[in-house]
């Protein structure tokens, strides 16, 4: 089984988020809780359902990732782009993986 994390978009602003070990939705994939066996995945799925019911997030999905040199990377390009941001320099203030957007 490949490792998995739980992702969603935050209800209030739509920003991509991942579930961390303390049950918080965080903006950085690197802080996500990684499920490495079936029970942990089941727990992720249960958390996802609860979060949707709780109206915190929308579009919840369990996605596959791999860990290389301590860095988490989704397997699918779509999820990599969700995690790492658009691959284009779309506006001044966009810093890609260096951190959140800061108005220039």
């Amino acid at each position: 089984m490949s490792d998995k994390v739980l992702t969603a978009n935050r209800l209030s602003d739509g920003i991509s988020v991942w579930l961390d070990a303390s049950g918080q939705w965080v903006e950085n994939l690197q802080d996500a809780f990684v499920a490495r066996h079936a029970e942990a995945v089941a727990a992720l799925e249960a958390s996802g359902k609860a979060a949707v019911a709780d109206n915190k997030v929308v579009d919840v999905n369990v996605i596959e990732i791999e860990e290389k040199d301590g860095v988490l990377r989704p397997l699918r390009l779509r999820e990599r782009i969700r995690a790492e941001g658009p691959t284009i320099d779309y506006a001044p203030g966009y810093r890609g993986l260096l951190g959140p957007f800061e108005a220039a």
Binding site: R78, Y90, F101, A104
Partner: protein, 556 residues
């Protein structure tokens, strides 16, 4: 110019209030996503990969500077300082917060704009020739008719739950700059021998996974019958269009499955019932709406000719820009200016808040306060005196808006693709940037001449790849991006759907493949004036296949 009326005003304000209430209830958890999603979509709010997206309607692509400044303000205050102009003459914001969307819509309403009918299975924003009211080859301004259709179709109860979305385009000129033959209904304004205005009516065009060229079902529909005839088409579609399968629900499939004669017969029959109903357009109504679109009073400015020649001689960059981005106007002392949103290596269709403000200021100063959005993702200043071109150019230059590439190989259409879009298979924008950089040298572009590259990140074809002279379609193969190339498409008065040329190319190889195609064209064209499309239509795909895949392989 047209001002939306009191009814629109009250209605839009009411809708904003309603949506504010719905958003509030969603955020408090009173409304679940299943119930809320159709409501947000009705107000133009989508969810993409990284955030929500707001699509704002720009009816027939026409804006004044006050409205464009508002679009800039929204980009600055509620988004990340930019917006994306689309092939449907709309603008999309990629980062609005859901909680802010009611405020954004309220601000838009203050300049008579909204996001209604930018989503859902209704009649969408009616598009029109971006040179409307200015083009020398125009029979009549298409916008009054687009506006009549807009008013009629806005929250039309009978047509708010169609089998699928419905797109209408109108052109008023000989040359079709609105791609009407790839719309659900395409209307081509013309005059009959008696000098009366009417429309050639096309139905059943479309792109997406099953691209089709529309069929002409009426050669001349008198203008007074516009709404009754359109209603007849809508009724036939609403009744017989397929609701069982989303992929077969567009009218193009109905036309295809029913046969054009049978369908035209059904429409005519329905039309007979409606012809003399209250849908008949009185001359006075047409005249009243046409008056809103009256062209500005264009004074003779013959001094521009001499000045223009002088400026062109003094500045090669300016000369290139005039030759490429300024087209002849009805009035000989004026030109129609394309403000390119395709800087070399940049993101097609994106404009920053500062650029939008700058264009608004320049339009006010030099272009009678009129701005258009073209389906090719550029901005247009339709009426500029030749005598004002030089200061206008300086103003554009100061904001990186002077790229001289209208209609050239770097004037690329690209959808948002996998950098933003939740439906995408592959990225569109980085490919557009790489192609633009590869072919960006002015001399090289001039040598190649007119060549339209259009890129979509999936088969939905928002980037019009089916009608690109060179079309690029992103597909996913074994989890990686792959680009399929089509050749010979075009979205004008002689529309055609491009043909797939062979197996697809990996991201790192596709720019080379396009270059091979371009070089092949340069090698086989009869003379410099034979465009890529003309050459392709003359020789067919084989030389390009041979060049891309090798003669033996292509024959296999």
């Amino acid at each position: 110019m047209y001002r939306y009326d009191e009814f629109d005003h009250a209605f839009v304000s009411e809708r904003v209030a309603q949506f504010r209430d719905q958003v509030g209830r969603r955020l408090s958890g009173e409304l679940a996503e299943d119930a809320f999603k159709p409501l947000r979509l009705m107000n133009g709010v989508y969810l993409q990969l990284h955030a929500y997206m707001l699509r704002v309607a720009i009816p027939y692509g026409t804006l004044n500077s006050k409205q464009l400044r508002m679009l800039a303000h929204i980009a600055r205050k509620y988004d990340r300082g930019y917006g994306h102009f689309t092939t449907r003459q709309n603008i999309q914001y990629n980062w609005p917060r859901l909680a802010d969307t009611p405020d954004i819509l309220a601000e838009l309403a203050s300049v008579e704009m909204h996001a209604l009918q930018t989503s859902g299975n209704c009649i969408r924003n009616v598009t029109a020739d971006h040179f409307a009211g200015a083009a020398a080859d125009e029979v009549a301004d298409p916008r009054p008719y687009a506006e009549i259709l807009r008013q009629w179709s806005s929250v039309h109860p009978e047509f708010s739950f169609l089998p699928r979305k419905f797109k209408i385009a109108v052109t008023g000129a000989e040359r079709d700059r609105a791609a009407i033959q790839v719309h659900d209904i395409g209307l081509h304004l013309k005059k009959n021998e008696a000098g009366e205005i009417g429309f050639a009516v096309y139905v059943g065009g479309g792109q997406g996974r099953t691209p089709m060229i529309a069929k002409k079902i009426r050669d001349f529909l008198p203008e007074e019958d516009l709404l009754s005839y359109t209603t007849a088409i809508m009724r036939v579609y609403n009744l017989h269009g397929r609701r069982d399968n989303k992929y077969k629900a567009r009218i193009k499939i109905l036309v295809h499955e029913t046969g054009v004669e049978e369908l035209a017969g059904q429409v005519e029959q329905e039309f007979l019932q409606l012809k003399d109903s209250e849908l008949k357009l009185p001359d006075a109504d047409i005249a009243a709406i046409t008056a809103y679109f009256a062209p500005p009073e264009l004074k003779n400015r013959p001094e521009g000719w001499e000045a223009l020649a002088r400026w062109k001689k003094a500045d090669a960059g300016f000369a290139r820009w005039v030759d490429q981005n300024v087209a002849p106007h009805k009035h000989p002392d004026y030109g129609m200016v394309t403000v390119s949103l395709k800087p070399i290596g940049g993101i097609p269709g994106d404009a920053s808040d500062k650029q939008m403000d700058a264009v608004a200021d320049l339009a006010e100063e030099f272009a009678f306060d009129e701005i258009r959005v073209s389906h090719e993702q550029n901005l247009i200043l339709p009426h500029v005196a030749l005598a004002d071109l030089e200061p206008l150019y300086r103003g554009l230059l100061a904001h990186g808006l002077e790229t001289a590439n209208a209609g050239l190989i770097t004037d690329i259409i690209a959808c948002p693709g996998l950098d933003y879009c939740a439906l995408a298979n592959a990225r569109s924008i980085p490919l557009a940037q790489e192609l633009s950089t590869r072919f960006g040298a002015a001399e090289r572009q001039a040598e190649i001449g007119e060549l339209k590259i259009k890129i979509s990140g999936c088969i939905n074809a928002c980037g019009h790849h089916h009608v690109g002279h060179i079309g690029l379609l992103g597909v996913e193969k074994k989890g990686a991006e792959l680009y399929q190339i089509t050749l010979g498409g075009s979205g004008d008065e002689n529309s055609s759907i491009g043909e797939i040329i062979g197996r697809g190319f990996e991201p790192e190889k596709v720019t080379d493949a396009v270059e091979t195609i371009v070089d092949t064209y340069l090698g086989l064209r009869l003379e410099q004036s034979e465009t890529f499309l003309e050459a392709y239509r003359r020789v067919g795909p084989q030389p390009f296949k041979d060049a891309l895949y090798g003669a033996t392989q292509a024959a296999a």
